[in-house]
Symmetry: none
DNA sequence: TATGAATGAGACTTCATTCAT
DNA sequence: TATGAATGAAGTCTCATTCAT
């Protein structure tokens, strides 16, 4: 029973926390915030209920961290677009969006679910608004370079399109004509 | 002395039920289904908890009636479009949408909130999918008459746009540039 | 709208009260005291809930009157036995008991149900004990005249038999071999 | 520091469960199922309401376990009768019955109470009917060996007697002449 | 006398959180 | 660090009872 080194402890902590967040993500994305219980998360993560409170102050706090980490991933993308042709960037963005929707619809589910609980999760709300504006700016710059007459207007249209498609996918699930939409948008914004 | 007449009772009932539904609508649209308690609804409506169960079998039943009545209102519109020019209809639809968003964003809030709770409210979910397809068909017919090359594709785009704008308004509230978007869309789809 | 005469009022009262008691009896005998609601009784009786409180102070009070009236009926029988041969009386009692069990098992159901709720219905409890002793005395007198060695002991046996058969009928319902038991007891106590 | 061992937990759980079942038994046997609240049981057991649901799925489930455990005890007896003289067995049964009635009338109270709630506790009901038939068979075999002319009839009489005495004890409590009845039955069925 | 809308206490149950180990 | 038994506030729903008409 020799005591663990600080490094070992740190690693154990990181692993446990990761497992808990993964479990929480999975369940909340599937069943929603209110219908996901702490007990359920603990069970899914294979740890005891009490352990969650070693890492998170409350259920809300857990969600907060979850959202922040989910946002992070979205940001990386934009970085990768530096230095490419506007036309190509737009094409990549559209394709990336549809790939995301195919492969990880739950990410979108989680953010939407929590964003709509405006009262409860103020901070998600604020972050999301910020991101939205940021992305619209980037998109407007692109469209400006591509010669659009009202680039901000069209950027807002594209943003709304993405959000709208996202929500329709959440509702229609496998019935949604993802492929057709992708083709249509690529043709509309990138071809010719 | 004498008991109330059936007419008096009917009126009392109608009023109480209305008060309860209004209170429920207000709270659920603001805080979401799960975070709205029966006790809260009763308090908001100014009645005792128990009274709700004179009018609704359960909390879910209350929501059901709420949704059905919210849907009703949306349908009237389509009826009024009969016999008009496609171009005009599209313009009216866009204007109607933005008027709705300005005047009754809570309707949209309520439907969105409940639609996303897929497991819990199957029936909302199913109704909404049905409506979506129906509206896309109508819209595609219009666009076809207006000479669009791929009317179904563009109808889907418009539907997604409406949904996307709707959800962005829910999030951004008064910060959303409703007027600019309306102008932009009218120009894009109706002008020239 | 001429006012009713006192006699008319009295008759109306009697009728309403009777209807309520009948309804209460029926439902309590079938579903038990706790599972029978005031609303249910009113509905069964075809009157408004509020009316019950014109005639009875409370649900318990209603039950009290019900039990008292049910007891009454049992008493008449004993009166009719005056002046008959002991042997014949015993035979009549046994036959009467089985007839009752066939025709009105609910009476027994009601009394048993309420008698067992000792804490709640003290008064039923006391009345029942009194009756039991009274009947055992009468029976013992009979058996004494018939030459039984320990008439009180055998009277208690017969009383317990009746109670036991009664309760088994409540449990087994139509599966209970009523006919065989009747024949057996008649042979045992009355024949030869 | 270290978490409890599984054994420790097992013991804690067993103790808590036992305390809850004892409390439930006591209260239900005294006041009946409907009049016994979860809150009351928890208070009697000295635990929080919520804890009951760590051990039982519902109030009904709690009762189920209670009944099954009460039944168990009754069965052991029959096993001990193997290989004894019929005469002796009958005597032992009678004496056992009266001992039970003296020492644990609440067991009988609980089973009777629940058995009569036919609609609610189907499973008790079915089990009890099964046992009744089983015991009557055993008894009839005994009586057959002892030379009774109609052993099944007499077995039914004895069963009804036991049930009847049981219920009379529930009602009359300490006023019931247990000793005299026991003597009388022993003389009637076993002596001479 | 009669009605039934309204009340509110209290029932069962869930679940985030705490804490002894 | 980790466990899970225990807590208790809060939620949904039922129902005996009241009261304006």
């Amino acid at each position: 029973m020799s005591p663990r080194t600080p490094e070992q402890n740190e690693q154990i902590r990181a692993e446990s926390k990761h497992r808990i967040m993964e479990a929480a993500f999975k369940l909340i994305a599937k069943k929603g915030y209110d219908s996901t219980s702490i007990a359920g998360i603990a069970k899914e993560a294979g740890v005891a209920k009490g352990l969650l409170y070693n890492y998170f102050d409350s259920k809300e706090d857990l969600v907060k961290e979850l959202v922040l980490s989910a946002m992070d991933e979205g940001d990386k993308l934009m970085g990768e677009m530096e230095g490419k042709e506007p036309n190509e960037v737009l094409q990549l963005l559209i394709m990336w969006f549809f790939r995301e929707m195919r492969e990880r619809p739950e990410h979108w589910r989680l953010l939407t679910e929590l964003t709509l609980q405006i009262e409860k999760f103020d901070f998600v709300h604020n972050i999301v608004i910020g991101k939205m504006l940021e992305y619209i700016d980037i998109m407007a710059a692109l469209l400006g370079q591509m010669g659009y007459e009202d680039p901000i207007g069209e950027a807002r249209v594209i943003a709304a399109l993405f959000d709208g498609i996202g929500i329709e996918i959440l509702i229609a699930r496998e019935d949604y004509p993802l492929d057709e939409m992708e083709k249509y948008l690529l043709k509309k914004y990138c071809n010719e």
